[in-house]
Amino acid sequence: MATSNREVEELIGRQYRHGFTTLVEADSLPPGLNEDIIGALSAKKQEPAFMLEWRLKAYRHWLTMKEPKWAHVHYPPVDFQSIIYYSAPKSQKDRPKSLDEVDPKLLETYEKLGIPLKERELLAGVAVDAVFDSVSVATTFKDKLAELGIIFCSFSEAVQKYPDLVQKYLGSVVPYTDNFYASLNSAVFSDGSFVYVPKGVRCPMELSTYFRINASKTGQFERTLIVADEGAYVRYLEGCTAPMRDENQLHAAVVELVAMKDAQIKYSTVQNWYPGDEQGRGGIYNFVTKRGACRGDSARISWTQIETGSAITWKYPSVILEGDNSVGEFYSVALTNNYQQADTGTKMIHIGKNTRSTIVSKGIAAGHGQNAYRGLVKVLKGARDARNYTQCDSLLMGDKCGAHTFPYIEVKNPTAKVEHEATTSKISEDQLYYLRQRGLSAEDAVSMVVNGFCKEVFKELPMEFAVEAQKLIGVSLEGAVG
């Protein structure tokens, strides 16, 4: 005990001594994680000194931490030393030449979702010309945003161009000490998005990573930072309904949102990474830390998520309600089919007076899927007249799946009003029968009932996203009801 403690302390205390020259030359770094690797990664990205320091602090802290085991998910241990933490983007010649070389199953799904042809190529990772449509579209968008003073770029670019902003806000919501995966991400994150909306500016369009306005390819350790200054408004969409081609098994992303006085951030996610096959082999581990802080009075942060992919989902988009009258919202649909596991929910931390939060969580479990809602509503002593309403509903399809609810409610103020409701039930035979009788196929009937169940969440999504999400639920549930 004592010896290993000392060893760890020595490791933590050890300063970085080596140069990175040899490693920088290589196209990709060797697998494994140590201070050399982090140094090389930082050097390759030509980061300023403060970034390297921050990464190393995070790494040293990470060494002292243990992998969390409390979530209601089971998976073989991850070998962090076998992961390649940096590799140059795939060159054109390694990619499929055309859609003909792409897995037909993937194409079939695109067809069902109604994805435009050009986008299919992009999503499937087909080598495309530099003059691809969306790139030029992106440029036009970027000009428009720049006019308003909105910064929307890749994280790497932000570190180069706006180091002051990055330094000011990076880790201010999710510190590098936060949790095992957040610390790992802080040490090795490859890229991500950065958004800054200046005072009083209302962002005229929905910012999205799907359309790749920030063209650079983001890897398995993404980091997103969105800052809405006083009175600003921004809506951000992440992910897409189409299954993404991805070789990395572990994804540990971090998203930080900062909303100042009267600012509003709406963050929507559609996550549909590879869930593994019908027997539960393969699939992505999605261990994500997402948190927003309502720093000023009357700030609002809203999370909406549609989680249908990944073998394991472990994420709790949270809101820290610091400012008086600030508002936090969480709308979620999580679907697990086959052998998928999800442990997801939110935390609402009420600090300011008259703060309000709403949680609506819809879990759908089918096949052998295990679906857990885990949430915390915490009302601190000073949060007078705080108000929370939570509703968690679970729908079960098949007798091998599971739906679980673990809400934590901690209240230290007598004027707070907190309500939590949860129900779990089987998909209604009567409703299915009614629809079948009117000529709908079994699958369409299920899809319709499930979409009705999720309606409250879908209405929070932008219209075209909501339409896709509905189709996605149908596709994801294929084969769940025979």
């Binding site: 409390w70 209601h72 009302v379 002593k381 679970s394 079960l396 399809m397 098949g398 007798d399 091998k400 799946c401 599971g402 739906a403 679980h404 609810t405 673990f406 809400p407 934590y408 409610i409 901690e410 209240v411 230290k412 103020n413 007598p414 004027t415 707070a416 009003k417 907190v418 309500e419 939590h420 409701e421 949860a422 129900t423 779990t424 039930s425 089987k426």
Partner: protein, 443 residues
């Protein structure tokens, strides 16, 4: 190491000094005790780092190092009379320092039904107890329950023959004694189709410091029905860790009324396994705390087999610097189709410094189920206050009246009328304007 008090050794040492007094000389009893002691040794006592003890810090209890004492101090009949609910006609067993006091107890039952000392039953009918004693407790139990198994000296044993119906309730009174670790053990075996009402009452003289570490096991065979009351009225400086572990077979019905009024630091574990088709359980609970009281209720209902029903309704009223914890877990096992489970937990915070941590949990592995839970935390309804004020009731009395009404919803579920009346009276005296409420003649 980490600065925590490790009292494992002290307790295990103390157990050894009790050796000559421990009941049951059979090998199975010795094995049971040895296994339990080994568990205490291996696991140690829980800390806030254990998920199930996250909100309940036992440091204050651990620092006290309460140990068992052999000789019980005097406890007179008059002291007892004050504690008894008025007009409740029962078969009574009184335990002081965890040992039966025959002189304070009423004569035992006739007709072959048994309500007597557990130690005596272990001596006279070990075969009847062996399949149940220590077997209703789950294996992975916390060290306090294991400590009780390893070192209880006496307690109550209730055995009901098949089809028997008891007209009068059985009343078990456990009295804590100053500076001692008291470990009563209760075993209730209800054979097929039997019915009974059992009241467990935990008391102590006000101002006394002691630690009650109680375990009760209840077995309901097919079609048996037990209505169980647990009145926790420990001294305001007393520590209480109590476990109630229940196994219900087919068509059995178990009703629990758990009322917590006393104690400085209280932790109750209530676990019900619905083990066969058609078993039913209803758990009602009320915790009323003020001052620096800490009351933690952890309940778990395991729907192990199809077609079982559970209802759970817990309410809490917190004043002063009191803190309460509620954790209600409902598990539906893979086979347990047609499960019907409902759970509600409502809390009322009356002061700036009170705190509630509530955690209703559903863990469901079957699909044909109807499960719901709800939890609320709030203060008195301003509209209702206004209504009363508009009718000339002063503010304090109006608040107390509404508080009483909130808590009384649980008391209304108690079937034993004399007990209910006594508790209503106790509750109103706890409220500042209790007398005022009675004068309003609304009661």
């Amino acid at each position: 190491m980490n600065g925590e008090v490790d009292t494992r050794g002290d307790y295990l040492q103390a157990i050894r000094t009790l050796e000559h007094e421990l009941p049951g000389r059979n090998s199975w009893m010795k094995d049971l005790r040895a296994a339990a002691a080994a568990r205490v040794e291996a696991v140690g006592f829980p800390t806030v780092r254990d998920e199930a003890w996250k909100y309940t810090n036992l440091a204050a209890l651990m620092r006290q190092r309460f140990l068992p004492i052999a000789s019980a101090p005097s406890f007179a009949n008059e002291q007892l009379e004050r504690l008894l609910p008025d007009g409740l006609d029962t078969y009574r067993l009184v335990f002081v320092n965890g040992r039966l006091r025959a002189d304070l107890s009423s004569p035992t039952l006739g007709n072959g039904e048994v309500a007597s000392s557990l130690a005596q039953q272990l001596r006279d009918h070990p075969g009847a107890l062996e399949p149940h004693l220590g077997r209703v407790l789950p294996d992975a139990i916390h060290s306090f329950a294991a400590l009780n198994t390893a070192s209880f000296v006496d307690g109550a044993c209730v055995r009901l023959r098949a089809g028997a119906t008891l007209e009068r309730p059985i009343h078990l009174i456990y009295v804590g004694v100053p500076e001692a670790l008291v470990q009563p053990r209760t075993l209730i075996i209800a054979q097929a189709g039997s019915r009974a009402t059992i009241v467990e009452q935990y008391v102590g003289a006000d101002g006394d410091r002691y630690f009650t570490n109680a375990v009760t096991e209840v077995v309901l065979e097919q079609g048996a029905s037990i209505e169980h009351y647990r009145l926790q009225q420990e001294s305001g400086r007393g520590f209480h860790i109590g476990g109630l572990y229940v196994r219900g077979e087919a068509q059995s019905s178990f009703t629990s009324h758990a009322i917590d009024l006393g104690g400085l630091l209280v932790r109750n574990d209530l676990q019900v396994a619905l083990n066969a088709v058609g078993a039913v359980c209803t758990l009602n609970g009320l915790y009323v705390a003020d001052g620096r009281q800490h009351i933690d209720n952890h309940t778990c209902i395991d729907h192990a087999k199809p077609g079982c029903t559970s209802r759970e309704f817990y309410k809490g009223v917190l004043d002063g610097r009191a803190r309460a914890v509620f954790s209600g877990r409902v598990v539906v096992q893979p086979d347990a189709q047609r499960t019907d489970a409902e759970q509600v937990n409502n809390n009322l915070l009356l002061s700036e410094d009170a705190e509630i941590d509530t955690k209703p949990e559903l863990e469901i592995y079957a699909d044909d189920v109807k499960c719901s839970h709800g939890a609320t935390v709030g203060q008195l309804d301003l509209d209702q206050l206004f209504y009363l004020r508009a009718r000339g009731v002063d503010d304090a009395a109006a608040r107390d009246l509404l508080t009483f009404a909130f808590a009384n919803e649980i008391l209304q579920r108690l079937r034993l009328a004399p007990l209910r009346a006594t508790l209503e009276r106790l509750l109103t005296t706890r409220l500042l304007q209790g007398r005022g409420i009675r004068e309003l003649e609304l009661l």
